[in-house]
Amino acid sequence: MKKISTIIQKEWAEVFKNRLVISTVIFMPLLFTAIPLVMLYFTRGASSEELTSDLPQQFFQICPEGLSGGECFQVYITSQFMLLFMIIPLMIPVNIAAYSIVGEKTNRSLEPLLATPITTIELLTGKNLAAVIPAVIATWLGFVIYIIGSWLIIESPDVLSALLDPMWWIAVLVLGPLLAILSVNFSIIVSSRVNDPRVAEQVSAVVILPVLAVFFGQIAGLFFINRSLILLFSLIVFIVDIGMLYIAVRLFQREMILTRWK
């Protein structure tokens, strides 16, 4: 454990000297938390029935019973942006891992590091946690701010209850960390092939595309996120995580790093 915590301390000491990383870790969660809160604020008075005329018909099927059309509209609009909480755990690790691994490559600091008695698993775990922990903390803090903000803004207890559906708790507490793990291991795989942190970051950012597809799919009314979908996504991401972790461990072998990572 001491070696893992040493790697985490080292990563944070290095990575958080980079302004771009700091701004991503701080401002992105704030921005993504602010968007649904702003939407909530501006749809606060939406009670007239005509506002609901633009909603996809399917949404009314999942709109919680007892809500007025205007309240349904508020839940609908805000729910669209809840997926932003799934982008935070994807984006932050991309940033941290890209700088941490490509930085090691360009500094040529991996060889002395690998010559120590640290195991591949310890090293990879340290690097993973160093990227995942800030992402998860930022996501959770953002969600806490969102909960407090919702509580202050929303007047109807039914709307508050609909927006704080257990589905979103599962999404933030379970799917979020799984997405962060996916993101960091994807970044490790990408970083093993490039020598510029910015390139690594840009290529690794591809990992957010599936979440964006879900985001736009929902806006287009193709489907709506529900508990079953969140659980299904969690299961899929969990399986993909295992595959990614397997590839990352293979790529992180000493010989592979020293002879193939260019």
Binding site: K2, T6, K17, N107, L110, E111, P112, A115, T116
Partner: protein, 307 residues
């Protein structure tokens, strides 16, 4: 400290038979010696060091490092060896002290603060301990990297080109420190292009070009490649003098160049008095006499050329 037997490394490219980097390497490094590993660029020196530090696995062959078997006891090998890589590979954004603390923890050093302070002081970096490593000169970075390799007090130290890219002053500092480490009884495996450095520091050298060409002391290598030569400076040299000396049974070759008589023989300590007596008897006036010393560079170039 190191015993290798038929150590071979082939890098597989996946498309052909692979590149042979190290071929059938068998040698030993004794406890407390400085062993110079010499060879041209691309000879496989760094690959050999990486294998011996259990960073990469050999394709075939065996090695025992510090009593531990390569491939079976790799963690123990890493615990008991220190390595200075060709490029220091420091964390430039972190302080010198933090750089060392990271490695002290990874090497499971018990007294982290004490060891870090010991080596920062020993290498004259204590006053700069809070400065980022990126602000250091090349020589200071190299010293910091050496400190990093020594934190866990390894009995065996691998130094890969420790003075390359350093100015003469910094090179000297590093060389002096290596000499001190030898005095402490540490075993040092020194990869270098600097043959003068190898000549000064190494007890034995191995000349290597994918395979090991020869291992011996620098002095023995000189005599085995070029033989031992004595230069006798005369007031006036006469070709007849060379003929007279050549006639002596222990002389391999004698020839006159300007006013110097160049004599090749096996054992000058024993035969020089006899040569001097012969020359004086034949009327030669000797100004002074000395051994012609080939540089290790001459020896190395000769060996590599013939490889």
């Amino acid at each position: 400290m190191i015993i290798t037997s038929r150590l071979t490394k082939i890098f597989s490219s996946g498309t052909d038979d692979g590149a042979l980097a190290v071929d059938d390497l068998s040698f030993d490094v004794r406890e407390g010696e400085v062993f110079g590993f010499l060879g041209p660029n691309g000879a496989g020196k760094t690959t050999t060091v990486r294998m011996l530090c259990s960073l990469i696995a050999p394709t075939s062959g065996t090695a025992i490092v510090n009593g531990f078997t390569l491939g079976k006891e790799d963690q123990q090998i890493r615990r008991t060896t220190g390595i200075l890589t060709e490029i220091p590979g420091l964390y430039d954004n972190l302080s010198a002290e933090f750089n060392l603390r990271i490695y002290a923890n990874l090497y499971e050093v018990k007294d982290v603060a004490g060891q870090v302070e010991k080596y920062l002081r020993l290498l004259g970096l204590w006053d700069r301990r809070h400065d980022e490593a990126g602000t250091f000169s090349k020589g200071m970075k190299q010293k910091l990297a050496i400190a990093r390799a020594l934190l866990h007090e390894p009995p065996l130290l691998f130094l890969d080109e420790p003075t390359s890219a350093l100015d003469p002053e910094a090179s000297r500092l590093v060389r002096d420190f290596i000499a001190e480490l030898r005095e402490e009884g540490r075993t040092i495996f020194l990869c270098t292009h600097n043959l003068d450095e190898a000549d000064r520091l190494c007890d034995r050298v191995g000349v290597f070009k994918t395979r090991l060409l020869v291992v011996d002391t620098p002095t023995n290598l000189r005599s085995s490649v070029f033989g031992r030569k004595v230069v006798i400076h005369l007031v006036r040299a006469d070709p007849q003098m060379a003929s007279d000396i050549q006639a002596m049974p222990f002389i391999k070759e004698a020839r006159v160049i300007d006013n110097k008589l160049l004599v090749t023989l096996d054992d000058p300590e024993i035969h020089n008095p006899e040569i001097v007596r012969q020359l004086v008897a034949s009327g030669a006036e000797i100004q002074y006499i000395g051994e012609l010393r080939h540089s290790l560079e001459d020896v190395y170039l000769q060996l590599v050329k013939n490889a």
